[in-house]
């Protein structure tokens, strides 16, 4: 299983913070996002705005390979400071 996290606007659009999707061989961040869209169409709406991705707490891009057990987080550009 892959644990998916959603923060800020993304969390509000998809309705909750924590999701689970099945792990698969050689899948990328983009594949995980496709799976999420099939699971719940609100993820498609979340993709209307710019999404950042972190895999296991490190920023990555959508071609990064995701392994079973990883934590993948989607969130908007950050606004701290």
């Amino acid at each position: 299983m892959i644990t998916v996290k959603a923060f800020a606007q993304v969390r509000e659009v998809v309705g909750k913070e924590t999701w689970q999707v099945a792990g698969a061989h050689n899948q990328t961040v983009a594949d995980v996002l496709d799976n999420l869209c099939e699971l719940d169409s609100r993820w498609r709406a979340a993709m209307d705005d710019e999404l950042l991705v972190a895999v296991n707490h490190t920023m990555r891009d959508s071609s990064f390979t995701v392994n079973d057990g990883d934590e993948v987080a989607f969130f908007p550009p950050v606004t701290g400071g």
Partner: protein, 155 residues
Amino acid sequence: MFARVSDTDFNQQRLYDELVAGCAASPGGIVTFTGLVRDFNDNGKIDGLSLEHYPPMTEHAMRSLAEQAISRFALTNAGIVHRVGHLSNFSQIVWVGCAASHRASAFDAACYIMDTLKTAVPLWKKEFQNGTGHWVKAKASDADASLAWMKDNDR
């Protein structure tokens, strides 16, 4: 080095003392930056904000940032504290402290940490206006400032 997320306010003197106490060598200059909640935005008056974050990643990213700054600018110490949760107008949001032998390094490092924090640490502000919360949009100027440090390895 210290990097902390906090749900309570911080004290300038205590953070300054902690930075000095942790210095690897006698520092010549210390620069601090403190970010505060302003009582207005482009649309008028605001009534505080709330800060959401990604708990295990936030401190991890802040710690990496402090370590990068120490090595890049030859600092004798660096510290970052960022508050989360609800913050009323005029509250302290973030504190960055950099200690160095020479003042230019301390200034550059504090500037670098703030510019990079604004694009690389998972924190999000929601401002309240007339009872409604609005997510703050990331500024293009913040992205530009952060990018400039990546290109600017001669500085």
